[in-house]
Symmetry: C2
Subunit: 599 residues, 2 copies
């Protein structure tokens, strides 16, 4: 592999020389700027061999460097040849600083502006200008040089029934068009794949975990839409499904589309964080004034309607059966002293999910982490040399989710194998108390996740402990399992929680080289009907119904209210899951009855 | 009075005509931009008759308007002649919009740029430019026309002993100079009166409630300082007290000082929110580049050192005696069915505070609010027609504080008179629970008040109730009772709480036309010594020790932990106050014993 990479670097350097470039920056992102990229756009992998989900390479004439975050510092050394690349921390040593330090004044730095958002592009440009260097938009050398490049995905998208979406595409487009008019623009760039999927009530299968059809679009202030997409992806019945006003164009004509747009519109709304720099620069090149606002689909998409919630609840009902079957199986393995390894456990859970034909994908790569490995909160056993075996008298953490055709799930359970140490139980209970406190919160309209975050952390904080990730992220409707704009976290965030918004509630605790704990349910914001209320108040309803492991609870740390919550929750789990268990699965039923019996 | 004001308006209009101005804006603020202004700078009062603490007047050739916030909508109608001024809401109908709407294109709007911060000035200018109007810096017509204007205060300032300050002026100036150097500036404008007082270890008596000497200053990057101040204010022994490097100049030479500064310094640090526009515009006029940063004194001033905390604790010890005497007296009045009115009660509390010679002022105008009036959270009985009588079978709220020579206090207690309604008790208990929860918080380094705010609101929120003010503000060391930069509130604030910072903890509940409740203690942030902590953690220590009224507590709403906190707190109150009660005040002692007995 090293030799192949060395050859590719040589080719890129020749390309750079021909274009008079002193550096080229290749990030992991592709032109859609999402969390996942299709195989054909794994450009960072092609130039380096690195398979991680975030990072960037900088190639100079005489050296090259690769930048990854804390999750990948070990992995990058295993996958990338130290003779070819130096290794750096993406956050602690930003690649732009390294680039500037290693170049002389007036050097020319090449980028493919499709692989950066406009915000990123402007930050890069400001820094590079300040250093008296030159930023050059260029063809992507990887695209020019990649010989055996996989085809771009072209599977036909599917139509999401309007009943499930709760709103027709036409209604949605008219709603967003109203926002475009209010922002004084004549059109909007809509390029986030999940926004397009939401707007057209379609889903795709171009990439793992995120059921979208990669494409681009322009929505006009009258609600009409130009969809730039590989024609193979257009499903039968599409025109009737979306209603009047949607015209499709081959995706490779998007540049012409932008040029035409510039001829007819003076002001175009675009989200500088979610649309790539290239598309916006083509507009400004042609005299268009950009109206920099958040993608107008983001807020309506985040606040689910009754139909979307109905599907989401159904997805969680089905997911609960898969989780219960899995947890029952795992306990049996433990009883038989025949524990699986992390990979076998993840596969078994996937098997149980896929028993349901409505589950068509996982919503992310399962985190199946035995004992010590769970202390790494983004652990992936597939990045380890070999998956670790699950161990008796320790805990096991499994964070997973499914993409059902009408909803997305995301759940973490931490369970006991044998008798875990007392400290694990104490920490588990403190984490669980935080999860319950956040679940039970009520809050006035206008409250943000930043304000509520402490509720999930307070019991850990009493002991000087904390967890270094957010408490909650939004979740889509058979769309992205990490959906904005709301968040529950320490970071200041000014997005108020609104009814219909789904959020995870996932406090944790991680002790390096010892154990990791996380308790995660999905919640949905709903109106609170309170007789004394003097203003609109909201509360959370729980979506996830799977037992929490009573064997990890230190009962004396729980208040009466918390015990009552757990007992009530477990009763609801039992009522939801019991009718789904086939008669012959008596083991699963017995496990459920036991796991949900009152404390 | 109306006729006098009419005459003054006429004079101002003549002034405007002479200067070719179509409008003049006169805010309540003076050149020091503080919460309080001396009599000589009550310009808004002079042009309108309005005595409130916030507002602005806009005078046009043919009409005039006055803008006040919700606290003053009644008062303004009583004090200002509707024939001369129209009345508007300061927030809901910003005066600039009104001004622009009432002027033709190219009209000239005059302001005295000393009465606006640079941030305010820039916002005004941007809006006025956008409307194709002209903003004109002008002499203040009030200053030009006010005949019998009171003298500016010129009392001699006092030296704060270095032992009390815990740091010499020289040490402080060297510390701030280091910050100036780090910001790449050669000097800083320091004009906030409390920053100057802190930096020089002096206190003054120019205005009510805030013990400062109004003045201006320039601090240089080598730690030397030019202090522009009325020479009468300079106390004996000043030079020795402040140590080397402080030169004093008459305050009226500040403009020359700025001109000279511009000749020697290219970059000057100035806080665009706390220094007035005039001083910064004079620098930019002369080619100086402003480094816009927060006043560098603000953070070190906010984090009190051990000596400042010692004095603050002593102030609270003394203040507790005054409050206990007052509350004992009030209960006696109730028993004798001889209740005072709000004014008499406030005066009595002031009397008890002033029994201690170290208490030299109140820290703000006492809020003494009977029953219904307490529902207005910023009520001032002096703004009412007549102070209301305290009423049996209701509650009474008193929010007050003292300026002691070594510390500032601020406390609110809500007490029962007779038997208040059950609902009052329920709400009082919910408010108190929130106050206790915030008091008991522990949190990692880096946490802001925004993150903790919910702890004080959570029990009200469970019932759909809330209060519309912040939960906590900073408090100075024998300085401003409202001191930044930290806050505990819903508003996003990125200032982390640091050891030594004092904050109030004052949740409340207000039911219009019925009652108002607030429970307020001051807290100080301190290190938490937690055996399991994996990072620096902080907690609060309480500064205020005065009983909470047990008669207002609904005991069944309190958890065991909360009862234990109250009992422990009351025991500490007793231990602190009992030794201070003179032998002959047996009534006070009896009251204290009873008020602090265990629940």
């Amino acid at each position: 592999m090293s030799q192949v990479i060395a050859q590719r670097l040589q080719q890129i350097r020749a390309f750079m020389q021909a274009k008079n470039l002193d550096a080229f920056i290749i990030p992991r992102a592709d032109e859609y700027l999402g969390e996942y990229v299709p195989a054909c756009n794994e450009r960072l992998l092609w130039v380096s061999g690195f398979t991680g989900s975030a990072g960037a390479a900088v190639i100079l004439a005489d050296k090259a460097a690769i930048f990854v975050d804390g999750r990948y510092t070990v992995q990058v050394r295993q996958q990338v040849d130290a003779q070819l690349y130096s290794f750096h921390h993406l956050i602690e040593e930003p690649y732009l600083f390294w680039t500037c330090q290693n170049l002389d004044e007036n050097a020319r730095i090449g980028i493919d502006s499709r692989t950066f958002s406009l915000s990123q592009y402007r930050n890069i440009k400001a820094l590079i200008d300040h250093q008296h260097l030159e930023l050059v938009e260029s063809e992507n050398p990887v695209d020019a040089l990649w010989q055996d490049r996989p085809d771009a995905p072209s599977d036909t998208a599917t139509l999401m029934p309007n009943d499930w979406a709760g709103q027709t595409s036409l209604e949605k487009r008219e709603q967003i068009a109203e926002q475009i008019r209010q922002s004084d623009a004549q059109a909007a760039l809509i390029t986030a794949p999940d926004s397009i999927a939401w707007l057209l009530n379609i889903r795709g299968s171009d990439i793992a975990f995120l059921p979208v059809a990669l494409s681009s679009s322009i929505l006009f202030a009258d609600g009409t839409m130009h969809w730039y997409v590989n024609p193979k992806k257009i499903p039968q019945g599409f025109a009737q499904h979306v209603g009047k006003g949607v015209t499709t164009y081959p995706e490779d004509t998007f540049e012409q589309g932008l040029n035409q747009l510039a001829q007819t519109c003076q002001k175009v709304l675009a989200d500088p964080s979610s649309s790539n720099a290239w598309s916006q620069l083509r507009l400004t090149d042609n005299g268009v004034q950009l109206v920099a606002l958040a993608d107008p689909c983001v807020l309506p998409k985040a606040a689910k309607n009754e139909s979307e919630l109905k599907g989401t609840r159904e997805a969680h009902r089905k997911d609960a059966l898969a989780e219960v079957r899995f947890l029952a199986w795992l306990d049996k393995c433990a009883q038989q002293n025949n524990l699986p390894d992390e990979g076998q456990a993840a596969d078994k859970l996937q098997y149980f999910r896929y028993l349901d034909k409505d589950c068509i994908d996982l919503s992310f790569a399962t985190i199946s982490a035995a004992a010590v490995n769970a202390a790494m909160c983004h652990y992936n056993h597939k990045n380890a040399d070999t998956p670790a075996p699950l161990l008796m008298n320790s805990s096991y953490l499994v964070d997973s989710g499914g993409q059902y055709r009408f909803g997305t799930t995301d759940i973490t359970r931490t369970v006991a194998l044998g008798t875990p140490p007392q400290e694990t139980k104490e920490r588990f209970t403190q984490v669980l108390k935080g999860m319950i406190a956040l679940t039970q919160a009520r809050f006035p309209k206008g409250t943000t996740g930043t304000q509520l975050d402490v509720l999930a952390r307070q019991y850990l904080w009493q002991h000087g402990l904390d967890f270094d990730h957010g408490t909650g992220h939004g979740v889509g409707h058979f769309l992205s399992v990490h959906e904005g704009p709301q968040r529950i976290s320490k970071a200041l965030n000014d997005i108020a929680l609104e009814p219909g918004m789904i959020t995870s509630n996932e406090p944790g605790f991680y002790k390096e080289n010892e154990y990791g704990i996380r308790c995660e349910n999905l919640l949905v914001v709903e109106n609170a009907d309170l007789p004394d209320a003097d203003r609109p108040f909201y509360q959370f309803a729980t979506l996830t119904y799977v037992p929490f492991d009573k064997r990890l609870m230190q009962l004396e740390l729980l208040t009466d209210t918390e015990r009552a919550w757990i007992n009530d929750y477990h009763q609801q789990v039992r009522e939801l899951v019991k009718p789904q268990i086939p008669e012959d699965e008596t083991d699963v039923l017995d496990w459920l009855i036991n796991a949900t019996s009152a404390l």
